[in-house]
Amino acid sequence: MTPYIVLSAVLFVIGATTVLVRRGAIVAFMGIELMLNAANLAFVAFARQNGDLNGQVIAFFVMVVAAAEVVVGLAIIVSLFRARRTVSVDDENLLRH
């Protein structure tokens, strides 16, 4: 099972890096989804390794939560875009002091 767990850690790091480095709001948002799905992969891999079904059930819960998060996140990004015609994170600087 170790390869899957390593893969999930790699995906998590890629997702986290995307959030921290990339400038587009949508891409940063994709990074967060990647992090959540990396966690899902880890849950399922560990469930298999532990011989326990709970991890797979948890993955379903996480999918539902991630879907709700997409709804809220896209609503916020769309309203930002309508106001400014751009979703670059660099342009969001009204709050910088």
Binding site: I5, V19, I32, A39, N50, N54, G55, V72, I76, A83
Partner: protein, 518 residues
């Protein structure tokens, strides 16, 4: 397969508030626009007050015992009940501030969130007098999540509760009536950083599950104490990531970056709500994790927690000194307060828990009151028209002359933040620092006392501006409203004084709450 038994009476506070949230969505759909606001307000107040009273009755009648209410997924123990009462009390007062309108019917929220700022659609919505009453269901859902958060019996329930708290708050942050671009930007920042922290929490949970084979706290304790945890870096790393996720929610340094921006951009009533209630609920969850799962590892994880605590106090205090915006000043002071509460949490003693819980109770009520005052202090243009909130310190000059009652209330609140005797803030600080001294965490208490002394300068600066400076033509004035904010400020002020003069009942309640189920 047998369905698990559900102790409905134990989880009633959570069910009431979440159920009221669902009803509240239906109200949006079926009640005519004119009656909507008052129906929503009644529903929210009834549900939150009912949940708080129910939790209090449970806490009194079951006196120090707890019960697993949902096959181990929810633990209704004295800690959970205390936090639920504290959240309900602060949320109830915050709902008054959220619902209030000025004399000409303007609330703090945009008339139509879907209309782009500055567009024709927005002008039309404003002219039509639309009201975004969806605020109430969002507040109810967030409050429901906050009631479930400290009662979570496993890491999955805690994650779901965390998201139920956070998602409505991300939206509420973006709904300000004025400075909408700022508000939307704050909403976006909060969303990205909040989701980032949740992802850390979740990935940490995955590793804990991998190392221990369970996410249930009761079972985890056996794994942590029974096996040799030293051999399992996976468990350590997982727990550390879980704690990082929660530290973000309570606003502890170095995970505090979002706090000032979000507090500043969000509609001020929402800021008060989240500053008070999110902090109480997240600390309830943090106490549960730290005292059940992390406590056996305290000699290994302790130093990291100490560092976070000291850093939080110092960063919050020093940066608060340099702020010229009242809301940002309160935001950094909120970070410092998170550090003071952490002092109680990190001292690993039952006195530490009860001190931290009392601190949160009084801090929550005081905070809602302080932000309530900020909503009423408004800018005034040359013609004397009253506009948006005046938040710069410069504009608060002379408020003591023009609105003595508001200025006095604000003085009381910031004195409580500073920890002056005869306010609830003093008793709270005394409780956490005494617990730290008693539990070999004296360095934390010393840093905390030093930081409180330094932080007092920031608060004194505000008091001096209000009372010892002449008002200028730029100075802000208190605005007349329908009176709900006044009620909220009065409740907060009375609570702040009563908790300072006669803290015994709540202290006793907090002492009994320092008992965790698993």
């Amino acid at each position: 397969m047998i369905a698990p038994a559900v102790a409905w009476s134990m989880i009633a506070p959570i069910v009431i508030v979440l159920g009221a949230g669902v009803v509240s969505v239906l109200v949006e759909a079926f009640v005519p626009a004119k009656a909507r606001r008052i129906v929503q307000l009644m529903l929210a107040v009834t549900a939150i007050a009912g949940a708080g009273i129910w939790a209090m009755v449970l806490a009194v009648s079951r006196a120090g015992t707890g019960e697993s209410a949902f096959a181990g997924h929810l633990l209704i123990d004295p800690l959970a009940l205390f936090v639920q009462v504290a959240v309900a009390a602060s949320a109830l007062v915050a709902v008054f501030v959220i619902a209030d309108r000025t004399a000409d019917g303007e609330d703090a929220f945009t008339p139509q969130a879907a209309a782009a700022p500055g567009s024709a659609a927005e002008d039309k919505a404003r002219a039509a007098g639309l009201v975004q009453t969806e605020v109430f269901p969002l507040v109810l859902f967030a409050t429901g999540g906050m009631l479930a958060f400290p009662a979570a019996g496993d890491l999955l329930t805690m994650f779901v509760a965390l998201e139920v708290v956070s998602l409505p708050l991300y939206l509420l942050t973006g709904l300000a009536r004025r400075r909408r671009l700022l508000s939307q930007e704050a909403s976006f920042k909060y969303f990205i950083l909040g989701a980032f922290a949740s992802a850390f929490f979740l990935f940490g949970t995955a590793w804990v599950y991998g190392a221990a084979g369970t996410v249930n706290f009761t079972d985890l304790i056996y794994e942590v104490t029974g096996g040799d945890p030293r051999l399992d870096p996976l468990l350590y790393a997982g727990l550390a990531m879980v704690v990082v996720g929660l530290a973000f929610k309570v606003g502890a340094a170095p995970f505090h970056m979002w706090t000032p921006d979000v507090y500043q951009g969000a509609p001020t009533p929402v800021t008060g709500f989240m500053a008070a209630c999110t902090k109480i609920a997240a600390f309830g969850a943090l106490v549960r994790i730290v005292y059940t799962v992390v406590a056996p590892l305290q000699w290994d994880i302790g130093p990291a927690l100490w560092t976070v605590t000291i850093l939080t106090m110092i960063v919050g205090t020093t940066v608060a000194l340099t702020q010229t915006d009242v809301v940002r000043m309160l935001a950094y002071s909120a970070i410092a307060h998170a550090g003071f509460v952490l002092t109680g949490v990190v001292s690993f003693s039952s006195l530490g828990i009860s001190g931290a819980l009392f601190y949160l109770f009084t801090y929550g009520l005081t905070t809602v009151g302080a932000f309530g005052v900020v909503t009423l202090v408004r800018a005034r243009d040359a013609q004397g028209n009253i506009g948006g909130e005046a938040r710069t310190l410069e504009r608060w000059r002379g408020l003591g002359r023009t609105s003595p009652v508001l200025a006095s209330a604000m003085t009381l609140f910031v004195l409580a933040f500073a920890g002056i005797p005869l306010t609830g803030g003093f008793v709270g600080k005394f409780a956490v620092f005494a617990a730290a001294f008693g539990a070999d965490a004296a360095p934390l208490a010393i840093v905390g006392i030093a930081c409180s002394a330094v932080a007092a300068f920031a608060y004194v600066r505000l008091i001096v501006a209000m009372f010892f400076a002449e008002p200028t033509e730029l100075s802000a004035v208190g605005v007349k409203t329908e009176g709900l904010t006044g009620v909220a400020i009065a409740i907060s002020a009375i609570a702040t004084v009563v908790l300072g003069v006669w803290p015994t009942p709540v202290l006793d309640f907090a002492d009994k709450a320092a008992l965790l189920l698993p």
